[in-house]
Symmetry: C2
DNA sequence: CGGGTGGTTGATACTTATCAATGGCTGTGG
DNA sequence: CCACAGCCATTGATAAGTATCAACCACCCG
């Protein structure tokens, strides 16, 4: 009665280089511009030192300024606090360390109840659950500025695996410090709860997509939502975005098979909705893509 | 390319009576007993007055004692606060009103940004999203003691429809009062964040189920998880539980069709895993049911 | 050069949806 | 009290959507 159809779930440990063409051609109506709140300053990813530990709180807090944290502007919030002079030295020293890891490396293990809260600074990562038989569901793609999960801010939680898609730089904050800091600054808690709600809305949508939408819709929606999130970070180049995802990632995010994803993406491209090449994706016909996605 | 297959989504306004047989025959190993933390005191659903408004905070807080709130023991927390004498009269008057509505009535509309936070006191409700074309995804079943959503405690949020499955009694707390009360009592915040994490874990599991599990697994898991949640509330009678859900509910919760749900449930019963009759469900072969569910 | 990964494509199988017909049950109204 | 109208569940036949399998090619990367 119960037929478990295991999918391959081999873990790979190889490194991967991304060489993404980002031509600067002008755009008519970029997805970014069609959204309401848009910040389009160029991204200045000042490289953080790899595998270094910086015990000086001021230093590591300010280094967050290179991180375009939009979804939860925690770093920014902390930084403003300090810049706004109502930061008493020693009052809230948030220990944090920066790390840079190659693609495909694991950031958090599902059984690890870490005392640290990681935030992605550069690169793409993925948060997922994997069943013993190898079936995997990606819950969210983590982009620069994303907390791994709002929920893990206050209490250690896991069950999710977080792994790097591209090379990733992230920063681990010590939860205890972060927590006491948060409780001392209610306006940050306020911001946190907004992010929390966004997160919930997104997971509601995920359930709706997985439960009730067709393969085409799911894939089109995934692409549009990534484009929107990247646009918020100023990471859209007109209609073009970096697209480091393997089709396996898309499949695991949409509950489909890599083979089927390939077919649908092929159709989309043949239908002139988009173009994917050399790890970058360009939306050609936004209107039709939105229609395919049953968007809004 | 995009084929929208609308499912019927007629709203019904009829009332429905539940007459559930709950025989008190002895049990060998109830699902309740197989769990670690179990409270099995009989439920004393002292009927709350219908459609009444009680402005006296003490009164309405204490009336929560009839509500077996386990998931977030907010009422209990508040009540203990008061009983524990560290409640200063007037300090935290939480306005709340009790309501009783017939089955199938809507409790929250998706576009309503209410200033109230509802908690289910009696009966079953359902929280869902519906697409314009009628496709619907149930996100969670709300049992007695459940907050509609942890997220809506701090900020108004919605997008979700909440409707009664059986006749439902719920209580609406004024968010502002609840919020200030929460912030004055950090141990409640602590408890809240635990509930929050549970909620997130559950929504992760939902995504995994919808994206990566077969129909049989999804249905078996739904039943087991309901049994577990009911057991926590002392609402399991051995292996038997009230099961007011229509197959449409099961279908919308599992991302399947009512027809297919009927077939799977039929198989389950013919295979001797369970029995459903007169709105109550009995687990016959727990081991096999767990196996079918790929549980744990 | 060779091996592993990733993407494409076609043939086929399986799972689930759709359609349709039936009967039971419930609540409703004459 | 009975008849009727809706809903609900069941079942079988058929269709659609995805998965599975397999083969192939195109890359990188070492």
């Amino acid at each position: 009665m119960v037929s478990l159809t295991a999918q391959t779930a081999g873990k790979r440990q190889n490194r991967e280089e991304l060489e993404i063409a980002r031509p600067d051609f002008p755009t008519e109506h970029s997805i970014a511009e069609s959204r309401s709140v848009v910040s389009r300053q160029p991204i200045d990813h000042t490289g953080l030192p790899s595998h270094s530990v910086e015990p000086d709180p001021t230093q590591c807090l300010f280094s967050c300024s290179t991180c375009p944290a939009y979804e939860l502007n925690l770093c920014l919030g902390v930084r403003q606090k300090i810049a706004g002079t109502n930061w008493l030295p020693g009052e809230s020293s948030i220990t944090s360390t920066a790390h840079t890891i190659p693609a495909r490396r694991t950031i958090c293990h599902p059984k690890e109840w870490s005392e640290f809260v990681p935030i992605i600074c550069q690169g793409w990562a993925v948060s997922s659950i994997t069943l013993p038989d190898g079936r995997r569901q990606i819950l969210t793609f983590l982009l620069p500025g994303d907390l791994v999960s709002t929920a893990c801010l206050l209490e250690p939680m896991s069950g999710r695996t977080v792994e790097a898609v591209t090379e990733v730089t992230y920063r681990k904050f010590k939860r205890r410090d972060l927590k006491t800091f948060l409780f001392k600054h209610p306006e940050l808690l306020e911001k946190l709860s907004k992010t929390w709600i966004e997160e919930r809305t997104q997971s509601d949508q995920l359930a709706l997509d997985l439960g009730r939408r067709t393969a085409d819709e799911r894939i089109a929606r995934l692409i549009l939502s990534l484009a929107e999130r990247l646009a918020k970070r100023g990471m859209m180049n007109g209609y073009t975005m970096e697209f480091p995802l393997r089709q396996r990632h898309v499949a695991d995010a949409t509950g489909l098979t890599p083979v089927h994803v390939s077919k649908v993406l092929g159709e989309f491209q043949r239908a002139g909705l988009m173009e994917i090449s050399s790890r970058s994706l360009t939306v050609i016909n936004e209107t039709e893509l939105r229609r395919a996605a049953d968007w809004r």
